[in-house]
C-alpha cells in the first residue's frame, strides 16, 4: 500500500465572492496559536513577546502585525492569539521562543477566518454585529470578541472598511451563510 498522505483542508476551501460590492474571502493562515500568560508573568511575557515577534505585546483588544505579516492580538487579560498567514519559519523559530514564557495551544484547525472588505461593509456588519463600529470606539487595529447570529466571533478591524472575522471552524458554514445573507440584505 502506498504511503498515506494527509491533505490539509481549509474550512471554506478558499472561498471568495463579491456581494453588493463587499468582497468576502476566506482568510487563510498557516497556523494559529493561543498564548496564555502564566500567573504573575506579565513582565517576562512582554519581553519575550517583543523578542520573538519584534513588536510590543498589545494591550487587551489591541493587535500588532509584525514585519513577517504575523498578526497578534490580545483577547483577554492573560490570553493572546497569534495568527501566522505564511511565515515559513514560524513553527521552528518563533514558537519555541514563545514557549519559554507562554503556555501555547495550537488552534489552527479550530478557527475559520473570513475577510470582509468594501465600502458597504459597515452596513453589512450592522446586521449581525452588536458592537459599536464607529471608529471612535472600534479603532483600526482593535480586536473584539462578541456573538453574531448565535456564534462566537472574534472581529479584527484592519482598515476602516476591512475586517477579519474569526469564528469556530465547526460552524464555519453557518457563519459564512450569515455573512452572505447580511451582505445580500443591505
Amino acid at each position: 500500500m502506498a504511503k498515506l498522505v494527509l491533505k490539509i483542508e481549509k474550512p471554506l476551501n478558499g472561498y471568495t465572492k463579491v456581494i453588493n460590492k463587499i468582497k468576502i474571502a476566506e482568510y487563510q493562515f498557516d497556523s494559529l496559536i493561543s498564548l496564555a500568560i502564566p500567573l504573575n508573568s506579565q513582565r517576562k511575557c512582554k519581553l519575550n513577546f517583543q523578542k520573538s515577534l519584534g513588536n510590543p505585546m498589545p494591550n487587551i483588544e489591541n493587535s500588532i502585525i509584525n514585519k513577517s505579516g504575523i498578526l497578534g492580538f490580545r483577547i483577554g487579560l492573560d490570553l493572546l492569539f497569534i495568527c501566522n498567514p505564511s511565515y515559513s519559519s514560524f513553527a521552528k523559530k518563533t514558537v519555541p521562543v514563545l514557549k519559554q514564557a507562554f503556555y501555547i495551544t495550537d488552534q489552527t484547525g479550530g478557527w475559520c477566518g473570513v475577510v470582509v472588505d468594501g465600502d458597504r461593509v459597515i452596513e453589512m456588519l450592522e446586521r449581525i454585529c452588536p458592537l459599536n463600529l464607529s471608529l471612535k470606539i472600534f479603532a483600526i487595529g482593535n480586536v473584539k470578541r462578541t456573538v453574531m447570529d448565535h456564534l462566537n466571533v472574534i472581529i479584527f478591524r484592519q482598515t476602516e472598511k476591512k475586517f477579519i472575522l474569526f469564528s469556530p471552524s465547526s460552524s464555519s458554514g453557518s457563519f459564512l451563510k450569515s455573512i452572505e445573507i447580511s451582505s445580500r440584505n443591505i
Partner: protein, 978 residues
C-alpha cells in the same frame, strides 16, 4: 371624496382593491386616505357586537379600520389601514364578519348587548360541566378574535440590526427636527426615527406656516441640512416600539411593505438601538368623546379629519360637524372651511368660551345625545333637541401626549390638570428619555418652538457639549385649552369608550357596580384598553368615566401603564433570520464530508450534526446497519468520529491541584502520558459530567467532557479558576474545534493504527498500555495525539489530529483498515456498545442521579476537598434504599424493552407508591442477540438475578425483566486491556 386641486392629485395614480372592488388612489396616500377619497365608509366590524365601523384616526392609534392585507401566505391580518402606505396592486379586505362586511350575520350580537356586556361569560356557561369545551367555548372562540392567519409558513425574509448613537430622536415633527438640528451641531451621533413614510410629523397635517411660508418648505430645508451631515442618520418607515434597560430601544423598519413585488430582501428589519439619550418627539394622540352611538362610520377624530383634508385632500361628504371639548376642534373647522366644505356646526361642550370663529355656526355648552345612520352617519341630535344632518362628524376630546415609551420601564405617568393630560415627569430624566414638544404636553406651536429650544439647549449644557445657537422660527400664534367633558350622561349602553373592544360606558358602570373599581380591575374585567391599540384613544375616557362614578378626579383614579410594544410587531420580525434550518447554527464534525459521501444518516446532537449510521447497499432498515457496525467493530475494527466531545486544554503549574478539586476522584498522582477517568459533581453533590483527562506534559493536560456539557463544564472550570482558586497558575482554552478525534475500536484497532503511526513500536501493548496517551506523528510527520481509552469495552484508541486533517485522516483510517474490513460507525452503534459495556451517558447522568446512584460513590475521594464532595454526604444521597444503576434483560429474550418504562416488583400494581426505578437506556444488542437495558432500581446491586416488571403504561406494555450487572460485555475488562 378628493379635493381635485390638492397637490396629491398630481402624483402617480395607483390602483388597488378593497373587498374585491377596484379603486384608485395616489402615491403618497395611505389605504385609509384612499378609502376616504373613494367614500368607502364601512371598513370593518367591531370585535364583540359586530357593529359597522369606519376609519377613525390617521395613525397607529387606529382602533377600527383593521384589515387583512395581501393574500395567500402573505396575508396579514389586523393591519391598520391608517398605517398602510398605498401601492399599486394593493389588496385589502375587511375582517371579523360572517357573510359580508356590509351585511354581517354576527351583528345579531348587537341586539344582545344587554345580555353580553362586560364579564357576562363569568356568570354562565357552567352547566353541564362537559359542555364547556364541546359547545360553549367553541362558539365563543369562533366569534372572538379578529383577522385570520393564512396557516401557511410566513414566506418573507426578516433581518435584525444594531445601531449605536448618542441621541435617538423619535419623531420628525417640528420638535424632532429642531432637536436634531441642535444636537447635530454638537458633533454627536444623531439618529432620527420616523414612523411615517414622509418626514415632518404633524406639520404635514396642518396648514400653519413656518417663517411665513408653507411648513413643507422648512421641513425640506431642515431635512436637507440633516442629510448632508455625516453624524446624522434618518430612518423613515421605522417605529421605535420598545424601550429597554440602559438606553436600548427596539425599532421596526418596514422595508418592502409598500412594494407589491416580494423580493429576496428582508421585509422588515428589527433594529436594536443603543443610545445615550432618547429625545421623545412622538407628538400627541387625540382622544374621543363618549356619547351615544359615537361609533358610526363617518365619526372620526377631528385632528384626523384635518390630516386627511390637508395632507391627502380627502374627506367624507360635504356636510361636516365638529364636536369638541377643546380649542383644537375649531382648528379643524377652520381648515375644512378653507377647503370649501360646509361646516354644519361646531358643538363645543364648553359653555363659558367665546366662539373663536363667528363665521361658523356653533352650539356652546351642548352635547350630542344621539346619532343616526347605521352604515354611515346621517344626522346628529344635540342636547338642545336640534337635529343636524351631517355626513361626517369630527370629534375632539383633547390631546394626550404620546408617552407610551416612557411607561415601558414601568414609569408611571402623572396627570397634568392644566392640559388635562398624562405626562411623563420624573422617570423620564432618570431613564434619559427626554420628551419634547407635544409629547411633553406643549400643544401650541409657538410654545413648542421655544420650549424645544430650551429643553434641548439645557440638555446640551448639562452634558457639556459645545453649545449651538438656538433656532429662530416664527409661526402662527395658537391657543389650546381643554375641558374634561369626555363622557355623556345619557344612553351609556351605546356610548363607546373603547371602540375596538366594544367597551361602553355601561360596561364601566357595571364594573363599578360589581366592585371592579381599581384601574387594573376595571381594565381586566371590562377589557378596556386591552385591544390592539392598547386604548391609545380611549383609556382617558374610561378613567374619566370611572372618576365620575367614584365622584373623584382622574389623578385619584390613576392609570394603567402602556406595555411594550408601542405598535404590534410581527413575531417573525423578532425571530429575524433564525428560522427553518437557520434557527440555530449547525456544527459539522471534521469527518463530515467523508460521512456525507458514504451516505451516512445524520442526527442532530445539540447543534452538531453527527453520523448516526452508515447504511450499506441492500440495507433497508436502520437496525441492519447498526447491528453490522457493532458486530464488525467487536469482531475486527470500527471507526467513529468523537470530535464533538468537549476538549479543554489545561496548562499551568497548578493543574493537578485544580483537577483534584474539580473532579471527585484523585488526580494528584496522574503520571505524564497517562489518562484517567474523572467524575464531576455539581456543588450540590449531584453527578454532573464525566470524562477523561490526559496528562501530556509536566504542566499540560487535556480534559474531555460530554458533548452536551462542553460549554457548561468550561464555564464552571473558569468559575473555579477565577472565583474560587484565582491564585493558582491554571489556564484553560477550548480545543474542541481544533482537533479531529476518532475512536478506533476493536481487536484489530492496534494493527490498523500501526499502519498509520510513524513509529508502530511506540504503540505496542507494552509501550502503550490501557489508559496511556502520548503525542506522536502519523502519516509521515503529521502531529497527532493518541489515547488508549475505550467507550465500547474493546481494545480501543482515540486518535486526534488538527482539524484541517479531519476528512483526510478518516479516509486514511478506512483505507488502511480495508484489510480488516474496518467500518465507520455512527452514534447509534456507539450507543449500543456503551450500553453493552455498561457505561453511563446522558440518559444516566441526567442531572438527577448521584455518584451513589451511578455506583461510583467510591470515586468520591474523602482525602481532599472537591466540588460537590460535602453536599453529596447528605442523608438523601446515601440511604440504603437508593436506586443504583443496573443492567436489565427481558426474561423472554425475544421481547423488546422500552426506555422510560418504570420498574416495580413482580406482583405489584403499577402505581407511584410501588415505583422502584426506571429503564434509562435500552438497545438491541447484536452481540448478545437480544434487548438489553440500563436503568436504576432501588438496592439494585443486591438484587442481581431478581425478576421485576418493566411497566410501560404509555404504550400499554409490561415486560418481565431480570436484574443483571450493567456490564453485559467483558465485565472484567480483559478486551480493553489486551
Amino acid at each position: 371624496m378628493r379635493n381635485s386641486s390638492h397637490p396629491i392629485t398630481n402624483k402617480q395614480k395607483l390602483s388597488f382593491t378593497f373587498n374585491g372592488k377596484k379603486y384608485f388612489g395616489y402615491k403618497g396616500d395611505t389605504l385609509a386616505s384612499a378609502l376616504i377619497a373613494n367614500n368607502v365608509k364601512i371598513v370593518g366590524r367591531s370585535f364583540k357586537y359586530h357593529r359597522p365601523r369606519g376609519i377613525f384616526s390617521a395613525g397607529s392609534e387606529e382602533p377600527n379600520a383593521l384589515v387583512e392585507l395581501g393574500d395567500g401566505p402573505y396575508k396579514e391580518p389586523n393591519t391598520k389601514a391608517t398605517n398602510i402606505e398605498l401601492f399599486d396592486g394593493l389588496k385589502g379586505s375587511s375582517q371579523n364578519f360572517l357573510g359580508s362586511v356590509n351585511f354581517d350575520l354576527m351583528a345579531i350580537n348587537d341586539l344582545l348587548k344587554n345580555f353580553i356586556g362586560a364579564g357576562f361569560y363569568y356568570k354562565t356557561f357552567m352547566w353541564p360541566r362537559r359542555f364547556w369545551e364541546k359547545l360553549y367555548e367553541p362558539i365563543i372562540r369562533r366569534a372572538a378574535g379578529l383577522g385570520k392567519l393564512s396557516l401557511k409558513a410566513d414566506p418573507s425574509h426578516y433581518d435584525k440590526g444594531y445601531l449605536h448613537c448618542d441621541f435617538l430622536i423619535i419623531g420628525s415633527g417640528i420638535s424632532g427636527l429642531m432637536s436634531a438640528l441642535l444636537l447635530a451641531e454638537t458633533g454627536s451621533e444623531v439618529l432620527i426615527v420616523e414612523e411615517d413614510f414622509i418626514l415632518g410629523g404633524r406639520l404635514n397635517s396642518e396648514r400653519l406656516g413656518i417663517n411665513g411660508k408653507q411648513s413643507s418648505i422648512w421641513i425640506g430645508q431642515a431635512v436637507k441640512k440633516l442629510k448632508s451631515l455625516n453624524n446624522v442618520r434618518i430612518l423613515n418607515r421605522t417605529t421605535v416600539f420598545a424601550a429597554f434597560d440602559h438606553g436600548i430601544f427596539a425599532a421596526i423598519e418596514k422595508k418592502t411593505d409598500h412594494i407589491l413585488e416580494k423580493s429576496s430582501k428582508p421585509r422588515q428589519i428589527n433594529w436594536k438601538i443603543y443610545t445615550k439619550y432618547c429625545i421623545l418627539a412622538s407628538g400627541a394622540i387625540e382622544r374621543s368623546i363618549a356619547f351615544p352611538q359615537n361609533d358610526r362610520p363617518g365619526i372620526m377624530l377631528a385632528g384626523s379629519v384635518r390630516t386627511y383634508a390637508n395632507r391627502f385632500g380627502a374627506h367624507y361628504g360635504q356636510k361636516i360637524a365638529i364636536y369638541t371639548n377643546n380649542d383644537d376642534g375649531w382648528k379643524t373647522a377652520d381648515d375644512l372651511k378653507n377647503m370649501g366644505l360646509e361646516i354644519k356646526a361646531v358643538i363645543d361642550t364648553r359653555k363659558e368660551i367665546e366662539a373663536p370663529s363667528s363665521s361658523i355656526s356653533s352650539y356652546l355648552g351642548q352635547t350630542i345625545t344621539k346619532t343616526y345612520g347605521r352604515k354611515g352617519i346621517k344626522a346628529i341630535k344635540l342636547s338642545s333637541g336640534s337635529k343636524l344632518n351631517v355626513d361626517c362628524l369630527a370629534v375632539s376630546g383633547g390631546w394626550s401626549s404620546n408617552i407610551h415609551l416612557t411607561c415601558h420601564k414601568r414609569g408611571k405617568p402623572v396627570w397634568d390638570n392644566i392640559y388635562k393630560n398624562f405626562l411623563s415627569v420624573d422617570n423620564a430624566q432618570k431613564d434619559k428619555i427626554i420628551p419634547v414638544g407635544a409629547a411633553r404636553g406643549i400643544f401650541e406651536i409657538q410654545n413648542i418652538i421655544s420650549d424645544t429650544n430650551r429643553v434641548i439647549l439645557s440638555l446640551i449644557k448639562k452634558i457639556g457639549l459645545s453649545m449651538p445657537n438656538r433656532i429662530t422660527l416664527t409661526s402662527s400664534k395658537e391657543q389650546y385649552s381643554c375641558s374634561l367633558d369626555l363622557v355623556s350622561s345619557s344612553n351609556p349602553s351605546n356610548s363607546f369608550i373603547d371602540l375596538q373592544n366594544d367597551v361602553t360606558q355601561k360596561d364601566i358602570e357595571l364594573s363599578f357596580r360589581e366592585g371592579f373599581k381599581s384601574v387594573e380591575h376595571l381594565k381586566r374585567y371590562s377589557t378596556l384598553g386591552m385591544a390592539t391599540d392598547q386604548g391609545k384613544t380611549s383609556n382617558i375616557l374610561g378613567l374619566a368615566s370611572m372618576a365620575k362614578l367614584k365622584g373623584t378626579n382622574i389623578s385619584e383614579v390613576g392609570t394603567t401603564i402602556f406595555r411594550p410594544p408601542y405598535v404590534p410587531v410581527a413575531i417573525s420580525a423578532f425571530a429575524g433570520r433564525s428560522k427553518g434550518k437557520d434557527f440555530r447554527p449547525t456544527r459539522l464534525p471534521p469527518s463530515h464530508n467523508v460521512a456525507f459521501k458514504r451516505n451516512a444518516v445524520f442526527v442532530e446532537t445539540g447543534n452538531w450534526l453527527r453520523a448516526q449510521w452508515f447504511p450499506e447497499e441492500g440495507e433497508t432498515f436502520w437496525r441492519q446497519s447498526v447491528d453490522r457496525e457493532v458486530l464488525q467493530t467487536r469482531n475486527s475494527v470500527g471507526i467513529c468520529d468523537v470530535t464533538t466531545l468537549g476538549k479543554i486544554d489545561i496548562q499551568g503549574k497548578d493543574c493537578l491541584e485544580f483537577l483534584n478539586f474539580v473532579y471527585t476522584n484523585a488526580f494528584a498522582k496522574l503520571p505524564i502520558n497517562r489518562v484517567r477517568y474523572g467524575l464531576m459533581l455539581r456543588e450540590d453533590g449531584v453527578a454532573y459530567d464525566d470524562g477523561t483527562t490526559a496528562r501530556l506534559g509536566e504542566n499540560h493536560f487535556i480534559m474531555t467532557t460530554t458533548t452536551a456539557n462542553a460549554a457548561l463544564v468550561f464555564r464552571n472550570l473558569e468559575f473555579v479558576r477565577q472565583c474560587l482558586l484565582p491564585n493558582l497558575d491554571v489556564h484553560l482554552i477550548s480545543t474542541t474545534d481544533s482537533w479531529a478525534q476518532y475512536s478506533v475500536a476493536g481487536p484489530n484497532s492496534r494493527r490498523l493504527l500501526q499502519k498509520i503511526v510513524d513509529k508502530p513500536k511506540d504503540i505496542t501493548n507494552a509501550n502503550f498500555p490501557f489508559m496511556a496517551c502520548r503525542e506522536l506523528t502519523i502519516c509521515g510527520g503529521v502531529m497527532a495525539r493518541l489515547f488508549r481509552i475505550s467507550f465500547s469495552g474493546e481494545l480501543a484508541y482515540e486518535i486526534a489530529v488538527p482539524t484541517q486533517y479531519g476528512n483526510a485522516l478518516f479516509d486514511a483510517l478506512l483505507s488502511a483498515g480495508k484489510e480488516f474490513k474496518a467500518v465507520p460507525y455512527g452514534t447509534e452503534a456507539l450507543g449500543v456498545m456503551r450500553i453493552e459495556k455498561g457505561h453511563a451517558a446522558g440518559n444516566e447522568i441526567n442531572g438527577h442521579t448521584t455518584a451513589q446512584n451511578l455506583g461510583l460513590s467510591r470515586m468520591i475521594s474523602k482525602k481532599a476537598d472537591s466540588i460537590g464532595n460535602m453536599l453529596s454526604e447528605r442523608e438523601g444521597f446515601n440511604g440504603s434504599n437508593i436506586a443504583t444503576m443496573s443492567g436489565f434483560q427481558p426474561v423472554q429474550r425475544s421481547e423488546k424493552l422500552e426506555a422510560g418504562s418504570h420498574l416495580i416488583s413482580a406482583g405489584k400494581t403499577p402505581t407511584m407508591e410501588n415505583d422502584e426505578g426506571w429503564l434509562s437506556s435500552v438497545a438491541f444488542s447484536p452481540t448478545l442477540g437480544h434487548y438489553i437495558g440500563l436503568g436504576f432500581i432501588e438496592r439494585g446491586k443486591t438484587r442481581i438475578g431478581e425478576k421485576v416488571l418493566a411497566v410501560n403504561l404509555l404504550q400499554n406494555k409490561t415486560t418481565e425483566v431480570e436484574i443483571v450487572s450493567p456490564h453485559f460485555v467483558d465485565p472484567e475488562g480483559i478486551k480493553q486491556r489486551g
